[in-house]
């Protein structure tokens, strides 16, 4: 496939994606396309499969893909191991960031960044170069420098963990960022900081999928498209006004419509 053809392609194309966990089908035929420069919001009631979609795109081993395909930058994403997806620019901001005791935030992130840089044919950074970069990026999410040497997510508050996720995103500069309920558990200040962080990182050549239950995050991160996920399928798509509609009417109407 040559370059001109590549340009005509979507950054991400999800076709009829079915996935299950422990034999239970969660995703039942997702279709979604994302172009560079776009922000997509995926909304839906609890248990609709939003987080599953995020995890499946990142390659979590607990999920089994039973049908469908996902094309990312012209490649079969589902055949790539999770670390390769990450190196190729897929980033997941975790809903529940994982603690790694005894491993400092900077050590962890430097290891990740250097893997990503190697993959992209860039020179790896030494400790000093990395520290300089890290300190700059920490300003974006207003994080105290003391977090540099603290163990990854250990003893962090909920808000600190989410900010740390956005910091990692800022450092790794992904092509496709997936934010999985990044707003959950955030107070209004943290929500503002995290959202501003995400907005700062927005560029014409990257894209973002924002998974959220509530509309309020979308006041800060304004989406180009809103998709409503119910029972493992996208039942409605629209512009940013769709989010407001959901806020006013709740998910029940749509759920009813979906079951008909």
């Amino acid at each position: 496939m040559n370059d001109t053809q590549m340009k005509d392609e979507y950054m991400l194309e999800i076709k009829n994606l079915h996935a299950s966990v422990a034999g239970k089908e969660i995703l039942r035929g997702i279709n979604l396309t994302v172009n560079a420069g776009e922000v997509h919001a995926v909304m839906g009631p609890n248990g609709s499969g939003k987080s599953t979609l995020a995890q499946v795109l990142a390659g979590h081993p607990s999920y089994e893909i039973t049908e469908g395909e996902v094309i990312y930058k012209g490649k079969n994403l589902l055949e790539m191991p999770p670390e390769e997806r990450a190196k190729d620019g897929v980033f997941l901001a975790f809903q529940y960031p994982v603690e790694i005791p005894g491993v400092s935030n900077s050590y962890f992130l430097k290891a990740g960044l250097n893997e990503v840089r190697k993959y992209r044919g860039l020179e790896t950074l030494d400790a000093l170069q990395f520290l300089k970069l890290l300190k700059e990026k920490m300003k974006i999410v207003e994080m105290d420098p003391s977090f540099i040497n603290r163990p990854v997510n250990e003893g962090f508050s909920g808000g600190e963990k989410k900010r740390n996720e956005i910091l990692q995103m800022a450092v790794l500069e992904p092509t496709l960022a997936i934010l999985d309920e990044t707003d959950s558990g955030l107070d209004i200040d943290a929500l503002r900081i995290v959202s501003e962080g995400v907005n700062t990182l927005k560029r014409p050549d990257n894209a973002c999928i924002v998974v959220t239950h509530y509309q309020r995050l979308l006041n800060y991160i304004v989406p180009d498209f809103v998709h409503v996920l119910v029972n493992g399928r996208i039942v409605k798509s629209g512009g940013k006004e769709l989010a407001l509609e959901l806020e006013a009417n709740g998910y029940d109407q749509i759920k009813e419509a979906a079951t008909v």
Partner: protein, 479 residues
């Protein structure tokens, strides 16, 4: 993920080579004559022979090996072991130039430089090959400070009064089955003596190498720090790959007088056997320190990654008032390895303090047991003890056990024990991978983070080595 994992599982133990060197060995088996022969070969004074024979006669009365441990092993035929094997070009070494080239090469290959010109910065080395010490570096410089650092054999010849005074004073030959056996047949080891008020200016280290087949290694290390003296001592070990088990039954004794400090670090990497558990070293070792004087401190740090079976409890007898005992341990088992290790802290003096940090990591079908005793005697007023004992499991077929024993006979003391077990989670691994870090590096990172509290107690060079070793030992353990 599984393919890369399998590749790594099959990566070989890189110290498994055999040095082709002629050796002078005593006939297989153990009788009084064997002991007389060993003693004669070493040209020992009569007190040593008597000491050995006493131990041997005691050993003969011991019917069986201990049976309380949390594992079993096939019976050891003590008559089928060669108790003494030494490289033939027997050293009456005046300088390192006289060391057999084969031997120098062996140590070079192991990354241990015993030629002083190419020395490791600031580390004095005693190299033990099978049953004898083949080289000790920096002895001369150290002796200017009054420090004695030499092979045990040499110490017996040159400092018999010190040997007589301290040998067996911490681990008597009656202590246990293997201590009795060691006392009877031990062939060499290291001896360190730091006189009053002297702070040893460099790390002292002994490097143990088993080469000959069907040989047991029975070495003995004795370290004495007089009033106000301090010393940091390192111990490393490797052995060739062989498909039969070999016995390593060492004894280490440490003595700290008033205000003295001894720090003893071990990175144990004996051959662990293959994936199915064939071969490997039985590492049955007795290590104990005595804080004989007030305000003294003995600190054990161990990183146990090798051996088919590791069975040892580096302990501290806290005799002097205000003395401090510490035990920091990382024990890793993979494949079919077994470790039953921990410590004993015996509080006898007033205001004595002990700290125990144990990190057990189990992978493959490995079995890891922490066993520890904290004992506070009636006279040990205000004794304090803290134990933290964490286990990490990788995979579903390994196990971790904890047997803490606590005996307190003094009301003013405080004893704390904390324990945790965690599993290297799919989620932790996935999180690392999602940031671009592959399985192998992720495991190494997570496990090193887990063991960090222990590693920070190791001397710098050793800490780096230990971290790498941990990565290698666990390569391919999650799949």
């Amino acid at each position: 993920m599984n393919e890369s994992v399998n590749d790594i599982v099959n990566s070989e133990y890189k110290y498994g080579f055999v040095t082709d060197i002629e050796s002078d060995a005593v006939p297989r088996g153990l009788t009084e004559d064997t002991i007389r022969l060993i003693s004669k070969k070493k040209n020992e004074p009569s007190f040593m022979l008597e000491w050995r024979l006493k131990a041997f006669h005691h050993w003969q009365t011991l019917k069986d090996e201990p049976t309380w441990q949390n594992f079993s092993y096939p019976p050891i035929d003590y008559q089928n072991i060669i108790y003494y094997s030494a490289p033939k070009k027997k050293p009456t070494l005046n300088s390192l130039d006289e060391v057999d080239k084969e031997l120098l090469d062996t140590y070079e290959k192991l990354g241990i430089s015993i030629t002083e010109q190419k020395r490791m910065s600031g580390v004095a080395v005693d190299a033990i090959f099978d049953s004898v010490s083949v080289a000790t570096t920096f002895s001369e410089q150290l002796s200017k400070l009054g420090i004695v650092f030499c092979s045990f054999s040499e110490a017996v010849q040159k400092h018999p009064e010190l040997i007589k005074k301290y040998l067996g004073s911490v681990v008597p030959h009656t202590d246990n089955f293997f201590a009795a056996l060691n006392a009877a047949v031990f062939s060499d080891g290291s001896f360190c003596f730091i006189p009053k008020g002297v702070k040893c200016p460099m790390e002292l280290s002994t490097y143990f190498r088993i080469n000959a087949a069907e040989t047991g290694q029975f070495e003995r290390t004795l370290i004495v720090a007089e009033e106000g003296a301090t010393v940091s001592y390192l111990e490393g070990c490797t052995a060739p790959i062989r498909d039969t088990n070999q016995l390593h039954a060492a004894v280490v004794e440490l003595i700290a007088l008033d205000d003295a400090q001894i720090k003893y670090s071990t990175v144990q990497n004996w051959y662990a056997g293959d994936k199915e558990g064939r071969g490997g070293i039985y590492n049955f070792v007795t290590k104990r320190g005595k804080c004989a004087g007030k305000n003294s401190r003995i600190s054990w740090t161990q990183v146990e990654t090798g051996s088919a079976i590791t069975w040892k409890y580096p302990s501290v007898v806290l005799l002097g008032d205000n003395s401090v005992g510490e035990f920091y341990s990382v024990a890793v088992v993979n494949n079919r390895q077994i470790a039953d290790t921990g410590t004993k802290m015996l509080h006898i003096g007033k205001n004595t303090k002990s700290t125990i940090i144990s990190k057990g990591i189990s992978a493959g079908r490995g079995e890891n047991t922490y066993r520890g005793l904290v004992k506070v005697s009636p006279g040990a007023s205000n004794a304090r003890s803290y134990t933290q004992c964490d286990s990490m499991l990788l995979g579903n077929r390994c196990s971790a056990n904890t047997f803490p024993y606590i005996e307190v006979r003094n009301n003013s003391s405080s004893v704390e024990h904390e324990a945790s077990t965690s599993k290297i989670g799919e989620d932790q691994l996935f999180y690392c991978k999602q940031r671009g870090i592959d399985t192998e590096n992720a495991i190494s990172m997570i496990v090193n983070g887990f063991a960090k509290e222990v590693f920070k107690n190791l001397p710098m060079e050793f800490a780096v080595e230990a971290q790498k070793l941990l990565g290698v030992s666990l390569e391919g353990s999650v799949g």
